[in-house]
C-alpha cells in the first residue's frame, strides 16, 4: 500500500473499529488482572503480620523515582510518534518510536539493577509476602513493557514498509493506547510499592 492510501475503516455496530475495541477489551482485562493483585497487596499490607515490609532505605526510592520520570517521558515520546504520523511524517514516527522504546529499555535496565540490589539486600521472591508481591507486580509490569517495545518494533517495521499515512495509522494509535496504559499501571504501582 502506498503512503497516501485512503483509510480502510469499515463501519461496525458499535461505531468503534474492531481492532480498537479489541485493544480496549484487552486493557479492561488488564485492569482486572492488576486490580486483583493490587487489592490483595493492599489487604495483606494492612493486615498480615508476616507482610515483612523492608526498611524504606532498602527500597531504592530515588532510583524508582527516576524510573517513573523515564516512563512518563516515554509516554511523551509516544504522543509525539502519533502526532507525527497524523501529519504524515513517517520519519518522525520512526524517530519517536525509537525514543519511546529506548526509554522503555532504560526503565528495564534500571529495574534490572534494582532487582540485583534488592536480592543482595535480602528482598527475595520467596522470603516474605512483600518480596513475593514486589517481584510479581514489577515483573508483570516489566513483561508488559517488553511487550510494548516489541509492539513498537512491529509498528516501526510496518512504517518502514510504508503501511501508515496521515489517513491510515490506526495501529499506531493502538500501540499508543497500550503504552500509556503500561505507564498508568506504573503510576499506581510506584507509590504503593515504594512510597507508602
Amino acid at each position: 500500500m502506498s503512503a497516501t492510501a485512503a483509510p480502510r475503516m469499515n463501519s461496525t455496530y458499535t461505531g468503534i473499529p474492531n481492532g480498537k475495541l479489541g485493544m480496549w477489551v484487552f486493557l479492561a482485562s488488564e485492569v482486572m488482572l492488576f486490580g486483583a493483585l493490587l487489592s490483595s497487596y493492599v489487604v495483606l499490607a494492612m493486615g498480615s503480620p508476616n507482610f515483612g515490609r523492608p526498611d524504606p532505605a532498602l527500597l531504592g526510592k530515588p532510583l524508582a523515582t527516576v524510573n517513573t520520570f523515564v516512563l512518563l517521558a516515554s509516554s511523551g515520546a509516544m504522543v509525539m510518534a502519533l502526532s507525527s504520523i497524523q501529519r504524515g511524517l513517517v520519519a518522525g514516527l520512526l524517530k519517536w518510536l525509537a525514543v519511546a522504546s529506548g526509554l522503555g529499555l532504560t526503565f528495564i535496565s534500571i529495574k534490572a539493577f534494582e532487582y540485583q540490589h534488592k536480592i543482595e539486600a535480602g528482598i527475595r521472591l520467596s522470603d516474605n509476602v512483600f518480596g513475593s508481591f514486589y517481584f510479581t507486580l514489577t515483573g508483570l509490569h516489566l513483561l508488559h513493557l517488553a511487550g510494548g517495545i516489541l509492539f513498537n518494533g512491529y509498528i516501526a517495521w510496518r512504517a518502514v514498509e510504508g503501511r501508515y499515512s496521515a489517513g491510515h495509522h490506526e495501529r499506531v494509535e493502538y500501540a499508543g493506547l497500550y503504552w500509556h496504559f503500561v505507564d498508568l499501571i506504573w503510576v499506581v504501582l510506584f507509590p504503593l510499592l515504594y512510597l507508602v
Partner: protein
Amino acid sequence: MVPHGNLPSTQTYLKVFVGLGILTAVNVGLSYLPVSYQTGLGGMALIVTIQSGLIAHFLLHLRGENRVVSYAMMAALFLTVSLLGTLIPDVGIFHR
C-alpha cells in the same frame, strides 16, 4: 479513532506531563513525612487518582471516546473496586 480535531494540542500535552511530574514529586515528598500507614495510603490514593484521571482523560483519550469504551473500562474498574471492597473486611482477621 478519535477524530484528530478532538485531540489535545501539544501545549495541552505538555501541561499534562508537567502536571504528572509535579504530582509524582509531591507524592515522593509526602512519603518522607512521618505519617501513619493509613494516612499515607489515603494521600497517595488521592494523588494517584488524579494522575490516573489525567492519563485516562488526555493520553488514553477517554474524554472523546465512544461510550462503549468508557462503559467497558468502568465495568472493569467496578469489578476491581468490588473485589477490594469484599477483601477489606478481612484485614482484621489476621489479628483475631
